[in-house]
Symmetry: C2
Subunit: 272 residues, 2 copies
Amino acid sequence: MTDCSVFFISDGTGITAETFGNSIMAQFAVKPRHVRRPFIDTADKAFQVVREINAVADREGKRPIVFMTLVDEDILNIIRPCRGKVFDMIKTFVEPLEEEFAMKSNHRVGRFSDVAVDREYNDRIEAINFTLEHDDGQSARNLEVADVVLVGVSRSGKTPTSLYLAMQHGVKAANVPLIPEDFDRGFLPPMLKPFKKKCFGLTIDPARLSQIRNERRPNSKYASIENCRFEVQQAESMMRREGISWLSSTHKSIEEIATTILRDIRPDRLIY
Amino acid sequence: MTDCSVFFISDGTGITAETFGNSIMAQFAVKPRHVRRPFIDTADKAFQVVREINAVADREGKRPIVFMTLVDEDILNIIRPCRGKVFDMIKTFVEPLEEEFAMKSNHRVGRFSDVAVDREYNDRIEAINFTLEHDDGQSARNLEVADVVLVGVSRSGKTPTSLYLAMQHGVKAANVPLIPEDFDRGFLPPMLKPFKKKCFGLTIDPARLSQIRNERRPNSKYASIENCRFEVQQAESMMRREGISWLSSTHKSIEEIATTILRDIRPDRLIY
């Protein structure tokens, strides 16, 4: 059931407005309809959005919620009088900070001024490329420059977590699967030997693993609950033996897993 | 030069606090030191953070800025009296919304309550898998279910943009390179023929392309400025001929490119 409409309005991508607005909305038992309006950087576009907000207010018979991250005063002044309940996310915090810093704000739009010359941005792109080249144990080359190496059975969540670490945090995250051959041998994949200190394990509830694997290869031995139970149990005892810390991905989002890994393996990355 | 310290404190991953706090800080000509403190969910951890903030205040001789997204009242009450300048990001917006909705907030932590059963979350993971399987023209299988197909010369930014579309927006984004063979033939790669409507092009300044390619394969023909100029010119005229819209990735972040693509190709995805 949709009980109201929420607008996210920004002169940039609107991702900040959306991320933050969603975490505010999650505090309420409502199922809103979300409307994103990025790149609102001219008066024309601003008037268009105001018409849209007012039309929704008429149609739904209640004020839509409007989260906005806009820095241009002229655009702000067009949106403010709309018939929504407006939350001005920048101004609310920028004004007290201007006082704190005894400094005027610069009305800068967006996180990166010019990506072609932004060091942090280029580190992120480099990390994404590294992570893709080191997905699923594809390459042992340059593993010494990895920040983190994720290990775990197939489909335990290593790939999305690695990509998230790279994309969000600029962390070079390799990942290496633990496969039946490793369990037969009873040792970690040999390529991991020199890098045990930066290994981190993902495990998963066998029933959930079986469900995920069945979507890919229905009714295979690979996906069977017996095999999933066996692999998970073997992987966990191998990690325990090798002193690799791990967590279960079953009920955790990639955001939570990635943040936990950073905190445990690279606490230095929490300060930058 | 680091002029102050900024803390991001959260009972969850702290990503909301960080994303939002950074866009606020970007409004000021300061170069702060960033300290992330995720998962602050017990009184002990909260007292520890307060000690850390106070120590920084003493050392730097000025108040650190503290952005916090915390929902538990007891934890909030421990952090609030610290010697930083505290911005309570949840409360500031939640209280007026409680009034608007005539409803109490539920103090929920995090974006996903349980990912194992969250539809939106599972759509994102599925999109990431699809995007990886369809990176760099690897597979023509199931291209009909792609939401977007990115095209462009090698190293124009297709892969990071595709992954971002999948991870942030749950969009199934395939990508297919335009290569010298396509230019010789004078046609789009045949696998794209039925899907021209959902194709979107990335182009890039030849000098920047040459720089990026030189990092990978120094002094190759592939990376030479002449070849980069030729490929970019050929790709642009092919996209023009085929009626594929495109943008230049040279000075744009993947966030901006992804949002522009959504707006142009899948405006329905801006409402959800």
